[in-house]
Protein backbone atom coordinates (compact mmCIF):
# COMPACT_ATOMS: atom_id res chain seq x y z
CA UNK A 1 0.00 0.00 0.00
CA UNK A 2 2.83 2.38 0.92
CA UNK A 3 6.43 2.03 -0.20
CA UNK A 4 9.36 4.26 0.57
CA UNK A 5 12.85 3.55 -0.66
CA UNK A 6 15.80 5.70 0.47
CA UNK A 7 13.44 8.62 0.81
CA UNK A 8 15.27 11.87 1.38
CA UNK A 9 14.23 15.47 1.97
CA UNK A 10 16.79 18.21 2.35
CA UNK A 11 15.99 21.74 3.34
CA UNK A 12 18.32 24.64 2.75
CA UNK A 13 18.42 26.99 5.66
CA UNK A 14 20.15 30.32 5.69
CA UNK A 15 22.07 30.96 8.83
CA UNK A 16 22.91 34.46 9.92
CA UNK A 17 26.61 35.15 9.50
CA UNK A 18 27.23 38.80 10.09
CA UNK A 19 24.81 41.65 9.58
CA UNK A 20 23.90 41.04 5.96
CA UNK A 21 25.57 37.80 5.08
CA UNK A 22 23.75 34.51 5.27
CA UNK A 23 25.43 31.16 5.03
CA UNK A 24 23.55 28.35 3.33
CA UNK A 25 23.35 25.08 5.15
CA UNK A 26 21.64 21.89 4.02
CA UNK A 27 19.67 20.00 6.62
CA UNK A 28 18.34 16.53 5.95
CA UNK A 29 14.85 16.44 7.49
CA UNK A 30 14.29 12.92 6.22
CA UNK A 31 17.49 11.00 5.66
CA UNK A 32 17.15 7.78 3.71
CA UNK A 33 13.93 6.26 5.03
CA UNK A 34 12.87 2.89 3.61
CA UNK A 35 9.57 1.42 4.80
CA UNK A 36 6.83 -0.75 3.43
CA UNK A 37 3.33 -0.64 4.88
CA UNK A 38 0.77 -3.27 3.90
CA UNK A 39 -2.96 -2.82 3.40
CA UNK A 40 -4.89 -2.69 6.67
CA UNK A 41 -1.85 -2.03 8.88
CA UNK A 42 -2.01 0.53 11.65
CA UNK A 43 1.35 2.18 12.00
CA UNK A 44 2.37 4.67 14.64
CA UNK A 45 5.09 7.06 13.72
CA UNK A 46 6.88 8.68 16.62
CA UNK A 47 9.98 10.74 17.17
CA UNK A 48 11.06 13.92 18.93
CA UNK A 49 10.14 17.32 17.55
CA UNK A 50 11.95 17.91 14.28
CA UNK A 51 12.67 14.22 13.71
CA UNK A 52 11.05 14.29 10.27
CA UNK A 53 7.65 12.73 11.01
CA UNK A 54 5.52 15.44 9.44
CA UNK A 55 7.93 15.85 6.54
CA UNK A 56 7.59 12.14 5.74
CA UNK A 57 3.81 12.36 5.92
CA UNK A 58 3.84 15.38 3.63
CA UNK A 59 5.90 13.52 1.07
CA UNK A 60 3.49 10.60 1.23
CA UNK A 61 0.53 12.87 0.61
CA UNK A 62 2.13 14.80 -2.27
CA UNK A 63 2.50 18.09 -0.41
CA UNK A 64 6.29 18.06 -0.48
CA UNK A 65 8.55 16.92 -3.30
CA UNK A 66 11.23 14.45 -2.13
CA UNK A 67 14.83 15.49 -2.74
CA UNK A 68 15.63 11.93 -3.75
CA UNK A 69 14.41 8.38 -3.33
CA UNK A 70 11.31 6.51 -4.34
CA UNK A 71 7.86 6.79 -2.84
CA UNK A 72 4.56 5.27 -3.84
CA UNK A 73 1.16 5.28 -2.15
CA UNK A 74 -1.72 3.16 -3.49
CA UNK A 75 0.58 2.46 -6.44
CA UNK A 76 0.74 6.17 -7.33
CA UNK A 77 3.59 8.66 -7.19
CA UNK A 78 2.38 11.30 -4.71
CA UNK A 79 3.63 14.52 -6.31
CA UNK A 80 3.09 13.90 -10.05
CA UNK A 81 -0.23 12.15 -9.43
CA UNK A 82 -1.30 14.30 -6.52
CA UNK A 83 -4.93 14.92 -7.44
CA UNK A 84 -5.56 11.27 -8.32
CA UNK A 85 -3.97 10.14 -5.09
CA UNK A 86 -6.03 12.65 -3.11
CA UNK A 87 -9.20 10.78 -4.08
CA UNK A 88 -7.86 7.63 -2.43
CA UNK A 89 -6.33 8.95 0.78
CA UNK A 90 -7.63 10.90 3.75
CA UNK A 91 -5.49 13.39 5.64
CA UNK A 92 -5.96 14.95 9.06
CA UNK A 93 -3.50 17.56 10.22
CA UNK A 94 -4.01 18.09 13.93
CA UNK A 95 -2.66 21.61 13.73
CA UNK A 96 -4.42 22.77 10.56
CA UNK A 97 -8.02 22.74 9.61
CA UNK A 98 -9.34 21.23 6.42
CA UNK A 99 -12.77 22.67 7.06
CA UNK A 100 -14.32 25.95 6.00
CA UNK A 101 -13.93 28.33 8.88
CA UNK A 102 -17.15 30.31 8.36
CA UNK A 103 -19.42 27.48 7.30
CA UNK A 104 -21.32 25.00 9.47
CA UNK A 105 -19.86 21.49 9.53
CA UNK A 106 -22.83 20.18 7.60
CA UNK A 107 -22.05 22.51 4.68
CA UNK A 108 -18.33 21.70 4.80
CA UNK A 109 -19.22 18.03 4.45
CA UNK A 110 -21.58 18.74 1.58
CA UNK A 111 -18.85 20.74 -0.13
CA UNK A 112 -16.39 17.88 0.29
CA UNK A 113 -18.91 15.58 -1.36
CA UNK A 114 -18.67 17.75 -4.49
CA UNK A 115 -14.90 18.13 -4.30
CA UNK A 116 -14.36 14.38 -4.00
CA UNK A 117 -17.20 13.55 -6.42
CA UNK A 118 -18.78 11.05 -4.01
CA UNK A 119 -22.18 9.58 -4.95
CA UNK A 120 -24.85 11.06 -2.64
CA UNK A 121 -25.95 7.72 -1.18
CA UNK A 122 -22.42 6.62 -0.25
CA UNK A 123 -21.71 10.01 1.25
CA UNK A 124 -24.89 9.89 3.33
CA UNK A 125 -24.13 6.39 4.60
CA UNK A 126 -20.60 7.31 5.70
CA UNK A 127 -21.78 10.54 7.29
CA UNK A 128 -24.48 8.67 9.20
CA UNK A 129 -21.88 6.28 10.59
CA UNK A 130 -19.52 9.09 11.64
CA UNK A 131 -22.39 11.04 13.19
CA UNK A 132 -23.27 8.20 15.48
CA UNK A 133 -19.72 7.13 16.30
CA UNK A 134 -18.42 10.63 16.90
CA UNK A 135 -21.56 12.30 18.28
CA UNK A 136 -21.59 15.06 15.72
CA UNK A 137 -25.29 15.86 15.86
CA UNK A 138 -25.23 18.57 18.51
CA UNK A 139 -22.81 20.80 16.58
CA UNK A 140 -23.47 19.90 12.96
CA UNK A 141 -25.02 23.30 12.27
CA UNK A 142 -22.47 25.41 14.14
CA UNK A 143 -19.92 27.38 12.07
CA UNK A 144 -16.53 25.72 12.35
CA UNK A 145 -14.96 28.83 13.89
CA UNK A 146 -17.23 28.41 16.93
CA UNK A 147 -16.42 24.74 17.56
CA UNK A 148 -14.22 23.60 20.43
CA UNK A 149 -10.98 21.89 19.46
CA UNK A 150 -12.40 18.48 20.36
CA UNK A 151 -15.52 19.05 18.29
CA UNK A 152 -13.48 20.36 15.39
CA UNK A 153 -11.19 17.36 15.45
CA UNK A 154 -14.18 15.05 15.27
CA UNK A 155 -15.33 17.09 12.31
CA UNK A 156 -11.88 16.83 10.68
CA UNK A 157 -11.89 13.05 11.08
CA UNK A 158 -15.29 12.82 9.45
CA UNK A 159 -14.17 15.14 6.65
CA UNK A 160 -11.17 12.92 5.93
CA UNK A 161 -13.29 9.77 5.72
CA UNK A 162 -16.35 10.81 3.71
CA UNK A 163 -14.81 9.75 0.41
CA UNK A 164 -13.91 6.30 1.75
CA UNK A 165 -10.10 6.57 1.59
CA UNK A 166 -7.89 3.49 1.43
CA UNK A 167 -5.19 5.12 3.53
CA UNK A 168 -5.74 7.57 6.35
CA UNK A 169 -2.84 9.80 7.38
CA UNK A 170 -3.15 11.48 10.75
CA UNK A 171 -0.62 14.06 11.85
CA UNK A 172 -0.93 14.43 15.61
CA UNK A 173 -4.68 13.83 15.70
CA UNK A 174 -4.96 14.10 19.48
CA UNK A 175 -2.78 17.15 20.01
CA UNK A 176 -4.31 19.62 22.44
CA UNK A 177 -7.38 17.49 23.14
CA UNK A 178 -8.76 16.80 26.62
CA UNK A 179 -8.88 13.26 27.98
CA UNK A 180 -12.46 12.62 26.93
CA UNK A 181 -11.96 13.85 23.38
CA UNK A 182 -8.74 11.86 23.10
CA UNK A 183 -10.62 8.75 24.11
CA UNK A 184 -13.36 9.48 21.59
CA UNK A 185 -10.85 9.91 18.79
CA UNK A 186 -8.90 6.80 19.77
CA UNK A 187 -11.87 4.48 20.02
CA UNK A 188 -13.17 5.79 16.72
CA UNK A 189 -9.83 5.08 15.06
CA UNK A 190 -9.60 1.66 16.74
CA UNK A 191 -13.00 0.78 15.34
CA UNK A 192 -11.99 2.03 11.93
CA UNK A 193 -8.78 0.02 11.99
CA UNK A 194 -10.56 -3.13 13.16
CA UNK A 195 -12.46 -3.31 9.88
CA UNK A 196 -9.13 -3.90 8.11
CA UNK A 197 -10.17 -1.88 5.05
CA UNK A 198 -8.24 1.23 5.95
CA UNK A 199 -4.50 1.54 6.30
CA UNK A 200 -3.73 3.94 9.08
CA UNK A 201 -0.55 5.95 9.54
CA UNK A 202 -0.42 8.32 12.45
CA UNK A 203 2.23 10.52 13.99
CA UNK A 204 1.91 11.45 17.60
CA UNK A 205 3.69 12.51 20.74
CA UNK A 206 1.12 10.80 22.89
CA UNK A 207 2.27 7.22 23.28
CA UNK A 208 -1.08 6.21 24.66
CA UNK A 209 -2.36 6.68 21.09
CA UNK A 210 0.14 4.10 19.92
CA UNK A 211 -0.45 1.64 22.75
CA UNK A 212 -4.16 1.77 22.09
CA UNK A 213 -4.05 1.68 18.30
CA UNK A 214 -0.91 0.49 16.65
CA UNK A 215 0.61 -2.94 16.38
CA UNK A 216 3.55 -1.50 14.59
CA UNK A 217 5.67 1.33 15.84
CA UNK A 218 8.18 3.25 13.76
CA UNK A 219 10.54 5.49 15.67
CA UNK A 220 12.29 8.14 13.65
CA UNK A 221 15.10 10.39 14.81
CA UNK A 222 17.19 12.85 12.84
CA UNK A 223 15.38 11.72 9.72
CA UNK A 224 16.32 8.05 10.13
CA UNK A 225 14.31 5.06 11.23
CA UNK A 226 15.75 3.88 14.54
CA UNK A 227 13.10 1.29 15.34
CA UNK A 228 10.50 -0.55 13.33
CA UNK A 229 8.45 -3.24 15.04
CA UNK A 230 6.06 -3.93 17.88
CA UNK A 231 6.06 -2.09 21.20
CA UNK A 232 7.29 -5.29 22.90
CA UNK A 233 10.21 -5.47 20.50
CA UNK A 234 11.09 -1.92 21.43
CA UNK A 235 11.11 -2.79 25.14
CA UNK A 236 13.25 -5.83 24.49
CA UNK A 237 15.67 -3.99 22.30
CA UNK A 238 16.20 -1.03 24.56
CA UNK A 239 16.27 -3.17 27.69
CA UNK A 240 13.31 -1.56 29.32
CA UNK A 241 13.65 -2.03 33.03
CA UNK A 242 11.02 -2.95 35.51
CA UNK A 243 11.09 -0.95 38.71
CA UNK A 244 10.87 -2.16 42.24
CA UNK A 245 9.48 0.30 44.78
CA UNK A 246 9.98 -0.63 48.41
CA UNK A 247 8.54 1.05 51.52
CA UNK A 248 10.98 0.39 54.31
CA UNK A 249 10.52 0.10 58.11
CA UNK A 250 13.74 2.04 58.63
CA UNK A 251 15.78 4.35 56.39
CA UNK A 252 17.83 2.70 53.71
CA UNK A 253 21.44 2.33 54.94
CA UNK A 254 23.76 4.61 53.02
CA UNK A 255 25.85 2.84 50.44
CA UNK A 256 23.32 0.05 50.13
CA UNK A 257 23.51 -1.79 46.82
CA UNK A 258 21.27 -4.44 45.33
CA UNK A 259 23.11 -6.82 42.98
CA UNK A 260 21.93 -6.48 39.39
CA UNK A 261 19.79 -3.41 40.12
CA UNK A 262 20.35 0.31 40.21
CA UNK A 263 19.06 2.52 42.98
CA UNK A 264 17.26 5.30 41.12
CA UNK A 265 15.48 7.19 43.86
CA UNK A 266 15.21 7.50 47.63
CA UNK A 267 12.36 9.51 49.18
CA UNK A 268 10.41 9.87 52.43
CA UNK A 269 13.61 10.35 54.51
CA UNK A 270 15.03 7.12 53.19
CA UNK A 271 11.84 5.14 53.85
CA UNK A 272 11.00 4.63 50.18
CA UNK A 273 13.56 3.26 47.71
CA UNK A 274 13.17 2.75 43.98
CA UNK A 275 15.34 0.27 42.08
CA UNK A 276 15.60 -0.32 38.37
CA UNK A 277 16.04 -4.04 37.72
CA UNK A 278 18.75 -4.59 35.14
CA UNK A 279 20.34 -8.04 35.29
CA UNK A 280 18.38 -9.72 38.04
CA UNK A 281 14.97 -11.28 38.49
CA UNK A 282 12.31 -9.65 40.62
CA UNK A 283 12.39 -12.59 43.05
CA UNK A 284 16.15 -12.38 43.57
CA UNK A 285 16.01 -8.62 44.06
CA UNK A 286 13.16 -8.84 46.57
CA UNK A 287 14.93 -11.63 48.43
CA UNK A 288 18.14 -9.64 48.68
CA UNK A 289 16.34 -6.53 49.79
CA UNK A 290 14.21 -8.25 52.46
CA UNK A 291 17.32 -9.95 53.81
CA UNK A 292 19.09 -6.61 54.24
CA UNK A 293 16.35 -4.21 55.41
CA UNK A 294 12.93 -4.79 57.01
CA UNK A 295 10.37 -4.06 54.29
CA UNK A 296 6.78 -2.91 54.90
CA UNK A 297 5.46 -2.95 51.36
CA UNK A 298 6.62 -3.69 47.82
CA UNK A 299 5.43 -2.96 44.33
CA UNK A 300 6.77 -3.95 40.95
CA UNK A 301 6.12 -1.67 37.97
CA UNK A 302 6.11 -2.76 34.34
CA UNK A 303 8.19 -0.61 31.98
CA UNK A 304 6.50 2.46 30.69
CA UNK A 305 6.73 3.15 26.99
CA UNK A 306 7.17 6.84 27.74
CA UNK A 307 10.35 5.94 29.60
CA UNK A 308 11.69 3.85 26.78
CA UNK A 309 11.10 6.56 24.29
CA UNK A 310 12.55 9.24 26.56
CA UNK A 311 15.69 7.13 26.81
CA UNK A 312 15.71 6.60 23.10
CA UNK A 313 15.57 10.34 22.50
CA UNK A 314 18.16 11.07 25.18
CA UNK A 315 20.63 8.59 23.68
CA UNK A 316 21.17 10.46 20.48
Amino acid sequence: MIKMQDLQKDFTVRVKAGRFRRRKRTVAAVDGVSLTIERGEMVGYIGPNGAGKSTTLKMLTGVLTPTSGEVSVCGLAPVPQRTRLALRIGVVFGQRSQLWWDLPLRESFELLRHIYRVPAAEHAARLRRCRSLLDLDEFLDTPVRQLSLGQRMRGELTAALLHGPEVLFLDEPTIGLDVVSKQAVRSFLAELGATGDVTLVLTTHDLADIERLCERLVVIDHGRVVHDGSIEALHARYGSRRTLVADLEQPLPSGFALPGAVLTNVTANGHRATFALESTTAAAAVGALVAAVPVRDLSLLEPDIEDVVARLYADR
Binding site: S54, K58, R96, L111, H114, I115, R117
Partner: protein, 266 residues
Amino acid sequence: MGELRAYVALGSAQLRSATSYRASFLVELFGNVGATVFDVLTVLVLFRATPAVGGFSLREAMLIVGLSSAGFALADLTVGNVDRLKTYVRAGTLDAVLVRPLPALPQLLLMDLPVRKALRVVFGFTVLGVAVAANHVDWTPGRVLLVVVTPVAAAVFFGSIFVLSASLAFWWVDSGEIGSAFTYGGRDFTSYPISVYGGWFRNLFAYALGFGFVAYQPALALLGRADPLGLPAWAGFLSPLVAVGAAAIAAAVWRTGIRHYRSTGS
Protein backbone atom coordinates in the same frame (compact mmCIF):
# COMPACT_ATOMS: atom_id res chain seq x y z
CA MET B 1 -17.85 17.58 -15.47
CA GLY B 2 -17.43 16.39 -11.92
CA GLU B 3 -14.61 18.88 -11.48
CA LEU B 4 -16.77 21.71 -12.74
CA ARG B 5 -19.43 20.89 -10.13
CA ALA B 6 -16.69 20.90 -7.52
CA TYR B 7 -15.54 24.36 -8.59
CA VAL B 8 -19.09 25.71 -8.55
CA ALA B 9 -19.56 24.30 -5.04
CA LEU B 10 -16.29 25.88 -3.86
CA GLY B 11 -17.19 29.26 -5.34
CA SER B 12 -20.65 29.35 -3.83
CA ALA B 13 -19.25 28.34 -0.45
CA GLN B 14 -16.91 31.31 -0.62
CA LEU B 15 -19.87 33.56 -1.47
CA ARG B 16 -21.77 32.26 1.55
CA SER B 17 -18.73 32.75 3.79
CA ALA B 18 -18.20 36.30 2.56
CA THR B 19 -21.83 37.27 3.01
CA SER B 20 -21.96 35.75 6.49
CA TYR B 21 -20.38 39.02 7.61
CA ARG B 22 -23.01 41.13 5.90
CA ALA B 23 -22.16 44.68 6.99
CA SER B 24 -18.45 44.46 6.25
CA PHE B 25 -19.22 42.80 2.93
CA LEU B 26 -21.36 45.75 1.82
CA VAL B 27 -18.84 48.32 3.02
CA GLU B 28 -16.07 46.56 1.12
CA LEU B 29 -18.21 46.10 -1.98
CA PHE B 30 -18.75 49.82 -2.33
CA GLY B 31 -15.43 50.88 -0.86
CA ASN B 32 -13.70 48.94 -3.59
CA VAL B 33 -15.30 50.89 -6.40
CA GLY B 34 -13.58 53.96 -4.99
CA ALA B 35 -10.14 52.68 -5.95
CA THR B 36 -11.04 52.21 -9.61
CA VAL B 37 -12.84 55.55 -9.78
CA PHE B 38 -9.67 57.29 -8.64
CA ASP B 39 -7.61 55.65 -11.38
CA VAL B 40 -9.89 57.14 -13.99
CA LEU B 41 -10.12 60.49 -12.21
CA THR B 42 -6.34 60.78 -12.30
CA VAL B 43 -6.39 60.66 -16.07
CA LEU B 44 -9.23 63.19 -16.23
CA VAL B 45 -7.35 65.55 -13.94
CA LEU B 46 -4.25 65.24 -16.10
CA PHE B 47 -6.19 66.41 -19.12
CA ARG B 48 -7.47 69.46 -17.21
CA ALA B 49 -3.90 70.71 -17.35
CA THR B 50 -3.16 69.90 -20.97
CA PRO B 51 -5.32 69.15 -24.02
CA ALA B 52 -3.11 66.33 -25.28
CA VAL B 53 -0.80 63.83 -23.61
CA GLY B 54 1.77 61.98 -25.67
CA GLY B 55 -0.08 63.08 -28.81
CA PHE B 56 -3.46 61.71 -27.63
CA SER B 57 -6.65 63.60 -26.86
CA LEU B 58 -8.75 62.99 -23.76
CA ARG B 59 -11.25 60.85 -25.68
CA GLU B 60 -8.55 58.64 -27.11
CA ALA B 61 -6.80 58.35 -23.78
CA MET B 62 -10.10 57.34 -22.16
CA LEU B 63 -10.30 54.41 -24.54
CA ILE B 64 -6.87 53.25 -23.35
CA VAL B 65 -7.90 53.69 -19.69
CA GLY B 66 -11.16 51.86 -20.34
CA LEU B 67 -9.50 48.84 -21.94
CA SER B 68 -6.90 48.72 -19.23
CA SER B 69 -9.21 49.08 -16.24
CA ALA B 70 -11.90 46.73 -17.60
CA GLY B 71 -9.25 44.06 -18.12
CA PHE B 72 -7.51 44.74 -14.84
CA ALA B 73 -10.73 44.75 -12.81
CA LEU B 74 -11.72 41.42 -14.37
CA ALA B 75 -8.33 39.93 -13.53
CA ASP B 76 -8.35 41.42 -10.05
CA LEU B 77 -11.78 39.90 -9.36
CA THR B 78 -10.91 36.43 -10.60
CA VAL B 79 -7.17 36.07 -9.97
CA GLY B 80 -6.18 39.06 -7.81
CA ASN B 81 -6.41 37.28 -4.51
CA VAL B 82 -3.73 34.83 -5.52
CA ASP B 83 -1.40 37.28 -3.78
CA ARG B 84 -2.69 35.78 -0.53
CA LEU B 85 -0.56 32.80 -1.44
CA LYS B 86 2.27 34.24 0.60
CA THR B 87 0.20 33.99 3.79
CA TYR B 88 -0.67 30.40 2.95
CA VAL B 89 2.97 29.58 2.30
CA ARG B 90 4.14 31.30 5.44
CA ALA B 91 1.54 29.59 7.63
CA GLY B 92 1.80 26.27 5.83
CA THR B 93 -1.95 26.24 5.21
CA LEU B 94 -1.36 25.40 1.57
CA ASP B 95 -1.05 21.80 2.82
CA ALA B 96 -4.81 21.52 3.13
CA VAL B 97 -5.24 22.73 -0.45
CA LEU B 98 -2.67 20.28 -1.77
CA VAL B 99 -4.29 17.19 -0.28
CA ARG B 100 -7.57 17.79 -2.11
CA PRO B 101 -8.27 16.13 -5.45
CA LEU B 102 -8.27 19.37 -7.43
CA PRO B 103 -5.45 21.46 -8.91
CA ALA B 104 -4.19 23.98 -6.38
CA LEU B 105 -4.50 27.25 -8.32
CA PRO B 106 -8.23 27.07 -9.17
CA GLN B 107 -8.94 26.02 -5.60
CA LEU B 108 -7.03 28.98 -4.18
CA LEU B 109 -8.76 31.40 -6.53
CA LEU B 110 -12.21 30.12 -5.64
CA MET B 111 -11.52 29.88 -1.92
CA ASP B 112 -10.60 33.54 -1.87
CA LEU B 113 -12.84 34.83 -4.64
CA PRO B 114 -13.07 38.52 -3.70
CA VAL B 115 -16.75 39.05 -4.41
CA ARG B 116 -16.40 42.54 -2.95
CA LYS B 117 -14.44 43.55 -6.06
CA ALA B 118 -17.39 42.78 -8.37
CA LEU B 119 -18.50 46.41 -8.71
CA ARG B 120 -15.05 47.39 -9.95
CA VAL B 121 -15.59 45.25 -13.01
CA VAL B 122 -18.91 46.94 -13.68
CA PHE B 123 -17.24 50.32 -13.37
CA GLY B 124 -14.31 49.35 -15.61
CA PHE B 125 -16.60 48.17 -18.38
CA THR B 126 -18.74 51.29 -18.02
CA VAL B 127 -15.71 53.48 -18.63
CA LEU B 128 -14.84 51.33 -21.64
CA GLY B 129 -18.37 51.62 -23.01
CA VAL B 130 -18.44 55.39 -22.60
CA ALA B 131 -15.02 55.73 -24.22
CA VAL B 132 -15.99 53.56 -27.18
CA ALA B 133 -19.17 55.60 -27.69
CA ALA B 134 -17.28 58.90 -27.47
CA ASN B 135 -14.73 57.99 -30.12
CA HIS B 136 -16.77 57.44 -33.31
CA VAL B 137 -15.01 54.17 -34.14
CA ASP B 138 -15.23 53.14 -37.77
CA TRP B 139 -16.67 49.69 -37.11
CA THR B 140 -15.46 46.71 -39.10
CA PRO B 141 -15.92 43.04 -38.12
CA GLY B 142 -12.26 42.98 -37.06
CA ARG B 143 -12.73 45.94 -34.73
CA VAL B 144 -15.90 44.49 -33.20
CA LEU B 145 -13.94 41.36 -32.46
CA LEU B 146 -11.06 43.42 -31.12
CA VAL B 147 -13.18 45.42 -28.68
CA VAL B 148 -14.60 42.18 -27.27
CA VAL B 149 -11.34 40.24 -27.16
CA THR B 150 -9.05 42.97 -25.82
CA PRO B 151 -10.49 43.26 -22.28
CA VAL B 152 -10.46 39.46 -21.99
CA ALA B 153 -6.87 39.26 -23.25
CA ALA B 154 -5.94 42.09 -20.90
CA ALA B 155 -7.53 40.16 -18.01
CA VAL B 156 -5.57 37.02 -18.95
CA PHE B 157 -2.39 39.08 -19.18
CA PHE B 158 -2.89 40.78 -15.81
CA GLY B 159 -4.01 37.47 -14.29
CA SER B 160 -0.73 35.92 -15.42
CA ILE B 161 1.20 38.79 -13.85
CA PHE B 162 -0.75 38.24 -10.60
CA VAL B 163 0.12 34.53 -10.64
CA LEU B 164 3.76 35.20 -11.51
CA SER B 165 4.24 37.72 -8.75
CA ALA B 166 2.43 35.51 -6.23
CA SER B 167 4.64 32.55 -7.18
CA LEU B 168 7.63 34.47 -5.84
CA ALA B 169 6.42 33.38 -2.40
CA PHE B 170 7.33 29.77 -3.13
CA TRP B 171 10.99 30.71 -3.25
CA TRP B 172 10.97 33.80 -1.14
CA VAL B 173 8.45 33.86 1.65
CA ASP B 174 8.89 37.51 2.50
CA SER B 175 8.45 38.67 -1.08
CA GLY B 176 6.15 41.32 0.41
CA GLU B 177 4.86 43.89 -2.04
CA ILE B 178 7.47 43.41 -4.78
CA GLY B 179 4.87 41.75 -6.96
CA SER B 180 2.64 44.83 -6.71
CA ALA B 181 5.20 46.80 -8.74
CA PHE B 182 4.25 44.64 -11.69
CA THR B 183 0.53 44.16 -11.04
CA TYR B 184 -0.66 47.57 -9.88
CA GLY B 185 2.36 49.23 -11.45
CA GLY B 186 1.57 47.45 -14.70
CA ARG B 187 -2.01 48.65 -14.61
CA ASP B 188 -0.88 52.25 -14.13
CA PHE B 189 1.60 51.85 -16.98
CA THR B 190 -1.11 50.62 -19.35
CA SER B 191 -3.52 53.41 -18.42
CA TYR B 192 -1.57 55.99 -20.41
CA PRO B 193 -0.47 56.18 -24.06
CA ILE B 194 2.97 54.60 -23.96
CA SER B 195 4.33 57.46 -26.03
CA VAL B 196 4.58 59.44 -22.77
CA TYR B 197 7.28 57.16 -21.36
CA GLY B 198 10.99 57.55 -21.93
CA GLY B 199 13.20 55.28 -24.06
CA TRP B 200 14.57 52.27 -22.16
CA PHE B 201 11.74 52.27 -19.63
CA ARG B 202 9.19 52.07 -22.44
CA ASN B 203 11.13 49.43 -24.33
CA LEU B 204 11.33 47.27 -21.23
CA PHE B 205 7.72 47.48 -20.05
CA ALA B 206 5.81 48.02 -23.28
CA TYR B 207 7.64 45.66 -25.60
CA ALA B 208 9.86 43.30 -23.61
CA LEU B 209 7.30 42.64 -20.86
CA GLY B 210 4.33 43.09 -23.19
CA PHE B 211 2.34 45.78 -21.33
CA GLY B 212 2.11 47.86 -24.52
CA PHE B 213 -0.15 45.24 -26.10
CA VAL B 214 -2.67 45.27 -23.28
CA ALA B 215 -4.47 48.51 -24.11
CA TYR B 216 -2.32 50.90 -26.11
CA GLN B 217 -1.85 48.95 -29.37
CA PRO B 218 -5.47 47.64 -29.47
CA ALA B 219 -6.72 51.19 -28.85
CA LEU B 220 -4.72 52.43 -31.85
CA ALA B 221 -6.22 49.69 -34.01
CA LEU B 222 -9.74 50.54 -32.84
CA LEU B 223 -9.19 54.23 -33.54
CA GLY B 224 -7.50 53.55 -36.88
CA ARG B 225 -4.53 55.69 -35.87
CA ALA B 226 -1.00 55.08 -37.01
CA ASP B 227 1.35 54.26 -34.14
CA PRO B 228 3.53 57.32 -33.46
CA LEU B 229 6.16 54.83 -32.30
CA GLY B 230 6.17 53.03 -35.63
CA LEU B 231 4.59 49.62 -35.02
CA PRO B 232 2.32 48.42 -37.88
CA ALA B 233 -1.48 48.47 -37.53
CA TRP B 234 -1.79 44.72 -37.00
CA ALA B 235 0.21 45.03 -33.76
CA GLY B 236 -3.13 45.87 -32.11
CA PHE B 237 -4.34 42.36 -32.81
CA LEU B 238 -1.37 40.78 -31.03
CA SER B 239 -2.88 41.15 -27.55
CA PRO B 240 -4.39 37.61 -27.38
CA LEU B 241 -1.05 36.12 -28.40
CA VAL B 242 0.82 38.13 -25.80
CA ALA B 243 -1.77 37.09 -23.21
CA VAL B 244 -1.46 33.40 -24.07
CA GLY B 245 2.32 33.67 -23.91
CA ALA B 246 2.15 35.31 -20.48
CA ALA B 247 -0.30 32.66 -19.25
CA ALA B 248 2.01 29.86 -20.42
CA ILE B 249 4.97 31.39 -18.59
CA ALA B 250 2.87 31.94 -15.47
CA ALA B 251 1.62 28.33 -15.51
CA ALA B 252 5.15 26.96 -15.87
CA VAL B 253 6.48 29.13 -13.03
CA TRP B 254 3.53 28.17 -10.83
CA ARG B 255 4.11 24.46 -11.41
CA THR B 256 7.79 24.77 -10.64
CA GLY B 257 6.96 26.85 -7.57
CA ILE B 258 4.57 24.28 -6.10
CA ARG B 259 7.39 21.73 -6.18
CA HIS B 260 9.51 24.14 -4.18
CA TYR B 261 6.85 24.53 -1.53
CA ARG B 262 8.45 23.81 1.85
CA SER B 263 5.43 23.79 4.13
CA THR B 264 6.14 24.51 7.80
CA GLY B 265 7.57 22.59 10.70
CA SER B 266 4.58 20.68 11.94
